[in-house]
C-alpha cells in the first residue's frame, strides 16, 4: 500500500531580496525591508515529503537514514549558515523563499533515488510557508 512520509529539518541562512532588473527605487518599493543591502536572516524549517509502496519486509516507504543522509549532504550542508546571495544558483535568481523551495525540490528530484519525491514545503518564519510539488497540485 502506498503511503507518504514527511520529514522536517531546520537550517538558518541570510539573504537580501534585490533584482538587477529593477531600479534602486523599484527594488525598495517591491522588496521593502528585505532590500536592506546588508541582508538579514531566517531560521528556515524544511519539510520533505516522499511516497511509495510500504515495503513488507521493513514496513517503510524509505529508510530515514537514506533520506536524512541525502538531505544533510545535499541541502543542509549547502545552505545552513550561508548567505544565499553568494551561492551560484542565486547569482541571477532572487533568493526568495519561493525560489529556494523550487531549488531544494530540484536538488532532491535530481539525486534522491530511494522513494518518489512528492513535495517540498519551506517555512521562512512561523507566519509564512511555501510549497512546491514540481508543478503538480498539492493535496489537502
Amino acid at each position: 500500500m502506498k503511503a507518504h512520509l514527511t520529514r522536517r529539518y531546520r537550517f538558518s541562512a541570510s539573504h537580501r531580496l534585490h533584482s538587477g532588473e529593477f531600479s534602486a527605487e523599484e527594488n525598495r518599493t517591491i522588496y521593502g525591508k528585505c532590500n536592506n543591502p546588508h541582508g538579514h536572516g531566517h531560521n528556515y524549517a524544511l519539510e520533505v515529503t516522499v511516497s511509495g509502496p510500504v515495503d513488507d519486509r521493513t514496513g517503510m516507504v524509505c529508510n530515514l537514514v537514506d533520506l536524512d543522509g541525502f538531505v544533510e549532504k545535499e541541502v543542509l550542508s549547502h545552505y545552513d549558515l550561508e548567505n544565499l546571495n553568494t551561492l551560484q544558483e542565486f547569482a541571477r535568481n532572487v533568493p526568495t523563499t519561493e525560489n529556494l523551495c523550487v531549488e531544494i525540490f530540484e536538488i532532491l528530484q535530481r539525486g534522491f533515488r530511494h522513494a518518489h519525491l512528492e513535495r517540498v514545503r519551506l517555512e521562512e518564519t512561523m507566519m509564512n510557508s511555501f510549497e512546491y510539488a514540481g508543478g503538480a497540485e498539492t493535496r489537502p
Binding site: A3, L5, R8, N63, P140
Partner: protein, 136 residues
C-alpha cells in the same frame, strides 16, 4: 466539499524487527529501533474526513461521533501499549509510522458512515509523520 480534521494524542512503545532477517540485517536496517526492549513516542494522530456540509446541521460530520470512534478504535487499543505485543495488526507487520497510519485507516474506515475518510496522518515526533490516503 469540506475537509475536517480532528486530532488526538496517544503514547506507545514499539521496536522494529523482521524475523526473516538475520540479527545483523535487523541491526543494519533498523538501527537503534531494533532494540527488543522497545522505546516509546508521544504520537499525534490527525484524522481528516471530507464531505458536503449538511444544510440542516452545518456539519460535515458530528465531531462528537468522530471523537468517540477515534477513542474506541484507536486510543483504547493503542494508548499506553507496546504495539508489537498488544495490537494484533503488529504481530505480523512492523509498527513503523507508515504501517501505523495504514492500520488506523483500516480500523476507522468501516466505522465512518456519514463522512468519507480522506487522510490519516500520524506524527511519531514533531519532525516525522506519515500520511495514508487509502491507496492500494
Amino acid at each position: 466539499m469540506v475537509y475536517l480534521t480532528r486530532k488526538a494524542e496517544f503514547s506507545a512503545s514499539h521496536y522494529y524487527h523482521n524475523p526473516e532477517f538475520t540479527p545483523e540485517e535487523n541491526r543494519r536496517v533498523f538501527g537503534k529501533c531494533n532494540n527488543p526492549n522497545g522505546h516509546g513516542h508521544n504520537y499525534t494522530l490527525e484524522v481528516t474526513v471530507k464531505g458536503a456540509v449538511d444544510p440542516r446541521s452545518g456539519f460535515v460530520v458530528d465531531l462528537k461521533e468522530l471523537k468517540e470512534i477515534m477513542h474506541h478504535e484507536v486510543l483504547d487499543a493503542m494508548d499506553h501499549r507496546f504495539l508489537n505485543k498488544e495490537v494484533p495488526e503488529f504481530a505480523s507487520r512492523i509498527p513503523t509510522t507508515e504501517n501505523l497510519a495504514i492500520a488506523i485507516w483500516q480500523r476507522l474506515a468501516p466505522k465512518l458512515q456519514k463522512a468519507q475518510l480522506h487522510r490519516v496522518r500520524v506524527y511519531e515526533t514533531p519532525d516525522l509523520f506519515a500520511d495514508f490516503y487509502g491507496e492500494a
